[in-house]
Symmetry: none
Subunit: 201 residues, 4 copies
DNA sequence: AATGAATGAGCATTCATTCAT
DNA sequence: TATGAATGAATGCTCATTCAT
């Protein structure tokens, strides 16, 4: 009875859901946990979101995709003289140095999309945003490879709790980028004939 | 019922758990679902495994880690003349061509390990088994990089339902391997000085 | 939305309610299901009908009472030379051959009227309309008996999914009608002295 | 914690369910209402019955089918000299004079079976038990007709809250029975040629 | 050693109704 | 007048775990 008329209600529920997932993981998201976090009656969460999945999608779509944000902040894609591998390795380091909950949130979405098809478009958008940005500097296949490598490196860091090794990441990224179309001295590009965009949708 | 004295009981429960996770994901694992799948009384599952997590660990530890199996079957690590990148790319293709449930099972472990520390050692073992095997041919850092790239590529294939492009994978793997210590003509390995083993356990 | 000023709104809600009950039964009737079916805002249903029961009554009162309609269409009550039993048996067959949902709708009203007194007058009206019409040809007690028999026969057909047997129905109806006051050769009407109208409202 | 180990638990839940349906109708049956009535924890009701329908079936199957009981108690089927119509009319009167809740319980099941196929076998059994017993005295078609008429008469009494008129029922039943195969002076049996058992399954 | 029974907590979801606008 | 928002109660059901036997 108390808090009738709360025009920001819907948004507050989304924000609460993000905090819950960050703290407890996707498995910890329930109408109840969200209602408690948002200090809102239980019925309110089902009123604004027809199903939990709908709420989850709304919440995840709103997360700023901090990974890609970090990349964009750290990488000067329009300056062809910059050491792209170094920029990317530094970006990865910055992202991994951030809040562990945030990292997990993002990665958990990524992996949860395996089982929940509704989440796939979101995950794909995230990947695409970075890939497309990289494609301004390198050929699309290399862009995909770079993103794959960054994903794999992040996963290993998160799963092992070990320190991120920026030098190692820079080395590996450098090797991928060295072979990109147009890069000087690409050592193995010739024989494989790296296709234009082998994984484009 | 009447199936007292069943020395295989414990094993049968584990097998059932694997089938359940493969089919429904970790979220579908419960004492009940496992008991039904194993055709065993409910109490039996709690008798043999003090908690669900314990059962989950037992089940995952037993999965053959089909990814590493496939790698080992397809890659001739002891023959330095083989095209390692091609072997790895083919292995990846074989794994991804297998049962989707199996692929997801393995990746879901990664997801769960993010939030359940008890699962991390298992995930780490899987990674380590491949990394260490690769380290017989290349330096440890490159081995890690290769595994990271393969993880990332697999993830993208699973998340996008797009076809796996073996040529693309071979190209990218080739670039990483070309820079490995001791590899002939590694063009960019020299300047980065690839650290001994930055992420070894 | 934007459909303000819709003078037919109330009627459209009633029509939607009938469709819902026909399809899903009374148990499926809710403000929400009706609002969705009528393509009308939720609040509209509670605005026009103070309670669900009120809506239910309005809906049921409007159903054409297809049973009595069918009877009236098939039976020539004003022609004393017609074989009334045959007409009624045919009418019953026609009704039962119709849409199962419609049959159930009408019978479900009976069910609901058992527990919801507000619905009883409607059910009684339906019965009365047929009984009174029949009373133009036979004494009221026989009219009631005929309606009771038809109800019983319908119920058994609906409950058993068995084929309706028109010859059987005609036989049984014929026996009831043969004993009616004024009927030629009523063999057992005399001794019981069929009361004037033992169940008339 | 208090009442562990209650070997009659399952039966007590069934009994409570019957009381609830008797009092509040099938619509009033819920895990919660039954748990409260049986003074048993909520989880207990779902433990013993996998679904509400299962509980409903168990409860209804156990009701003694008081209608057929009453018939069997009042009708001497093996004495061909008894006035069968009078016996049946009296039985119907006794049943209707009983507890209203019990009457409704039985009839509600009957009608609920329209929408819930799981209930149909029970309803059919009830009908069959009376029909088969009657068939020891009259041809099967007449037996079906008699049961249909009794059903219809009961329905009208329950729906109108009016007094049951035994003389009227005896008259109508008498007309049906007078036409039965083998009955002396069956007035209309000849022309219709009443089939052997037109509604047998 | 093994298990059926038990139970309290929690789950997603539906709902009739109220009410501020 | 009309309605979107709100909410507390209830629903069927699942579950991990405990425990008496």
């Amino acid at each position: 009875m108390a808090r009738r008329y709360d025009p920001e209600r819907r948004q507050r529920i989304i924000d609460a859901a993000i905090r819950v997932v960050r703290r407890e993981g996707i498995g910890g998201l329930s109408h109840r946990s969200v209602a408690a976090e948002a200090d809102v009656p239980l019925g309110s969460t089902t009123y604004h979101f027809a199903s939990l999945d709908e709420l989850l999608v709304a919440a995840l779509r709103q997360t700023n995709a901090s990974f890609s944000d970090t990349v964009f902040r750290n990488v000067r894609l329009d300056d062809p003289d910059r050491d792209l591998a170094a920029d990317l390795a530094r970006a990865l380091g910055q992202w991994l140095a951030g809040d562990r909950g945030t990292n997990e949130l993002e990665y958990e979405l990524y992996l949860a999309a395996l089982r929940k098809p509704v989440l796939r478009p979101i995950a794909q958008e995230w990947v695409a945003s970075v890939t497309e940005a990289l494609a301004r500097r390198v050929d699309p296949a290399t862009a995909h490879g770079v993103v794959a490598l960054m994903d794999g490196v992040s996963l290993q860091v998160l799963l092992t709790d070990r320190e991120y090794d920026e030098a190692y990441a820079r080395t590996m990224l450098g090797r991928l980028l060295a072979g990109a179309d147009g890069a000087a001295g690409a050592p193995d590009g010739g024989e494989t004939g790296s296709p234009a965009d082998p994984v484009a949708g």
